[in-house]
Structures are given as structure tokens and as C-alpha cells.
Symmetry: C2
Subunit: 179 residues, 2 copies
Amino acid sequence: MKYCSNCGKEIVKMIPEGDNIERYVCLHCNTIHYQNPKIIVGTIPIYEDKILLCKRAIEPQYGKWTIPAGFLELGERVEEGAIRETKEEANANVEIIKLQTVYSIPKISQVYLLFLAKLLDLDFSPGHETLATKLFSFEEIPWNEIAFTAVKFALKTYIDDKKNNRLEMTHVGFYPQHI
Amino acid sequence: MKYCSNCGKEIVKMIPEGDNIERYVCLHCNTIHYQNPKIIVGTIPIYEDKILLCKRAIEPQYGKWTIPAGFLELGERVEEGAIRETKEEANANVEIIKLQTVYSIPKISQVYLLFLAKLLDLDFSPGHETLATKLFSFEEIPWNEIAFTAVKFALKTYIDDKKNNRLEMTHVGFYPQHI
């Protein structure tokens, strides 16, 4: 960030009065440009004990497997965003069951909210950012080919919960502790 | 947003190629300025069946009661942010117990993540943005003087869970349905 998005003049980095963190500040129009972590929403779509995964057609992690997920948009609630991303990436229709995990990656200021969801039918197919969509049994999950630590954490906590009949829990994790 | 924060030139609102949502785009340096919902983190600090509330010293909702909460900062994980806000607003020391609620307010693109927390001692006092800090029993909570719907939702779900001995659950709600 170099210029003020409000007036177009150059900005400076400074600690505003009453604050204790450096912000981008415009000394011309006095706008403080706060920056905030981003939310990624997605689902673990379940169909008869199988999990729908998507093979990524874009960077980062091209060719790796993931669950359908992406950035929450303005004006969306978190479940809505998760359902939309599932539709966009896998053309899949899901119904939210519960929030499976909240996973922070402070190094890149991202917070994942990943929901367990019921895959409503087998009418799924790759979206524009996906090479392939496929149902995996727990044993078939390609752990070494999973794209993101947040996704690994979500899948592992779900499988553990399922085995231990603890299906109401939401798990809070973060990188690098919960890889 | 009127000017590009990268090059300072005027921006336009348009749907970029491969997208389906209008974004602020700079046609000079080709930067797409995505905008994202903001995360608010906070705690419900519990001490022997009482809840610590803060009387707001700032707008919006000056003079109303709330739980300690505020915007998540870059580089923070969600629990860290919740603990920091509790310290800033109530000078209170807490330990996270679990994620109590996730609450979306799509109209203003905010997502609250509110944690149940154990208040570790009685050494609390108002921070700069707080007029008063006080422990309330469930019966004493000033429901008509609570500042935000997300906070009401978090307090109500916690009290319900406590009464029904369902202390592991995380509740997902949104405005206007869950007021």
C-alpha cells in the first residue's frame, strides 16, 4: 500500500494517536487504512462415509487435493460462502451439518472456517479452478497430496470425531501447531 | 475507494475476467482490489457462574454493555486476538475454554468469533474504551442494555448450554435470524 485509496495522495506508516500498532495513514485526508485478516470458508462434503475432494487446477498447490473452499465475499454469511464455494469448485449441492474447524494461519493473516456438510446428490463435477472431483473413503484419502494444512486439520478432526462418535464438536487449530 | 493504493491512479468498478462479482480495478497497474469481511474476536469471561461485562465508552452504542471484543489484527490467531481484546477493554486475564459462537452480520460484512473463557482473577478494570467493568450473575444481565446482537446471541447460547449441560457446542448464528 503506497497511496491513499480515498484521496490518491501518498500515505505513511505510523502509529495513530490512541493506537499501539503501525497503520497506513493518509496525512492529507486523515484516513487510517486498517488491514484485516481474511476469512476462507469451505465444506467437507460427506456422502455415505465418503468425502468429496477437488484436485486443484490453479496455484498455489496446483494438482494437489483439497476440499471446496475460498474467500468469503462482502455481504455473505459464513455458511452461505461455504455453500457457494462448494458449488463453484465442485458443482456440488450441500447442506451444512455443523462447523467442523476454525483454523488460523497468523503468518499470512488467514482464518479458515470449514463446515461439515451433507452432499445431497452425486451430480458433481470440476469447476473452473478444479481438475477433478472424486469421493474418497477415509482409507483412500491421499494425505501426502492434500494442499493445505487447514484442510488436513479439518479432515483429521472429522475422521477422529466420527470414529469416537463426537460429532457435535468444533475444533480450533492453528499453523504451525496443528499441522 | 476511489484511487489505486498501489499506483495512486483512479480506479473503476468492474467485473474482472473469470470473476462474477464487481471489484475495484486499476486499469493502469492492473491491480484488483478485493474487499473482504472483517473478523471481530472476543471472550465471555466467566468467574464462578458470573459473566464479566464492559460498559462502552465509545460509539457505537456508548453506555451499553458488551463483552470484551474487537477487530482481529494482521498476524494474530483468533484466540490470541480474543485474549488481547479482553486485556485491552477490561484489563482482564483469561484462559480460553472453547469457541462459543460464530455470528455473521452480512449487511455490514462482519463475522464475530466469540470464545468462552475462564476469568483467572478479579484484577480487572475499565480499559480506555470502557466506562465500567462488572460481574453479572445470569439473572442480573441487563438484556435491554446489551450493545450488539452477536453478543446477545453468544450470552444466550452460553446460558442455555450451561443450563442444559451442553458445554462442548459451538453455535453458528447470523443477523437478522438469531437476534
